[in-house]
Symmetry: D3
Amino acid sequence: MPTIRVELFEGRTVEQKRALAAALTEATVRTLGGSPGSVDILFFDIAKHDWATGGTLWSDPPPPGG
Amino acid sequence: MPTIRVELFEGRTVEQKRALAAALTEATVRTLGGSPGSVDILFFDIAKHDWATGGTLWSDPPPPGG
Amino acid sequence: MPTIRVELFEGRTVEQKRALAAALTEATVRTLGGSPGSVDILFFDIAKHDWATGGTLWSDPPPPGG
Amino acid sequence: MPTIRVELFEGRTVEQKRALAAALTEATVRTLGGSPGSVDILFFDIAKHDWATGGTLWSDPPPPGG
Amino acid sequence: MPTIRVELFEGRTVEQKRALAAALTEATVRTLGGSPGSVDILFFDIAKHDWATGGTLWSDPPPPGG
Amino acid sequence: MPTIRVELFEGRTVEQKRALAAALTEATVRTLGGSPGSVDILFFDIAKHDWATGGTLWSDPPPPGG
C-alpha cells in the first residue's frame, strides 16, 4: 500500500523506469508518510496504436485542425 | 474523462482498433455529451492462454459438455 | 470478451449508464462482430477530487491561465 | 499520457490527495519530460477489509507471529 | 507478487471476503509456490447498475428471451 | 461475475496458468457459490523491470541492507 500503476507509451528505457519508480516512491512517502517498502509501482507499456484520444489512435496523424 | 479500457483477445488489426476507437468515442459523446477530445480509449490484447472462463483457458478445448 | 471498463466522473444517472452500456455494446459488436452477450461493461464512478490532470484535482479551480 | 492510478487505503484527505497529485505529476514530468497537462492521476480508496496480504484482511489482526 | 484483483457484485460480507482472500491465497501458493505474504488481493464491489452484459445492466430485467 | 485479474512476474508456463485458473475458480465457487462459468480470470505477465517495490525495480539488485 499504496499500489501505483503507470500506463505510458511504449519505448521508455529501463533507466527511465528506474528513475520514475524512485521518483514516484519518494514523492508518495514524502506526501503520505509510510515506508518506501510499502509502495509498489507497476509499469504498463502501451503501443500508440492501442491508445486513442478523441477517437483517433495516437499512431495516426491527427485529424485536420485537430 | 471518461477513460475507456478495452480488453480483447489478441489478434485484432490496427484497422479494427481504429474503427472501434472511433465507434466507442462516438457512442460515448452521443450518450453522455462532452467533447470527443475528452475521451481516452486504451486497448489491451489478451492471449487466449491468459483468459479463463469456468476454470478453463480459452486456448484449451472446452471441457466435454462444456 | 471483450471487457470494457469505463471510468467517468461520478454523478451520471442509471439511465445514462443504461444508454451508454447499450451504445458501447452495439458499437463493439458492429465493429468487431461477435455476440452482444460476450461483451461485459463495468462503470467506475470517480469523484472529482480523485482525478487530477496537470497536477490539479478536478474538484479544484484550474490554476490561473490553466 | 501517462495515466497513473493510485490505490491506497481509504481515509486520506482531499488535501493529501491534492499534494500527492502535484508531487506525482512533478516527479513524472521531471523524469520523463512532457507537459504536466498530459499526466492524469486517479485515486482509488480501498477499505482495509477489501485488501488482503498473506491471506489476511488488513482489517483483521495479523496472525500470531505474523 | 502476484497481485489479485477481484471484481464482484456488491453485497458480499466481510466474512465472505475473509474466506475468499484465504482461499485465493492458498490456491495461488499451492499452484505457483512462493510465500503467502507475497500475495496481495484487492476486492472491488460493483453495483448491479454498474455492470452490463449483452448491453443490459444487471440491475435491469433481462430482455425477453434473453 | 466475479472477474479476477492476476498480475504476476512473467515466465510462468501455460501449464501453471491452467492450474492456477482452475484453482482460483474452484476456490471462488467454493467460497462464494455460483457457477464456475460465471468466473473470468485474466493473467497479466509483468516483466521484473516493470515492477518496483520500495523504489527499486525487481530486475535490479536490492539496495545494500535492503
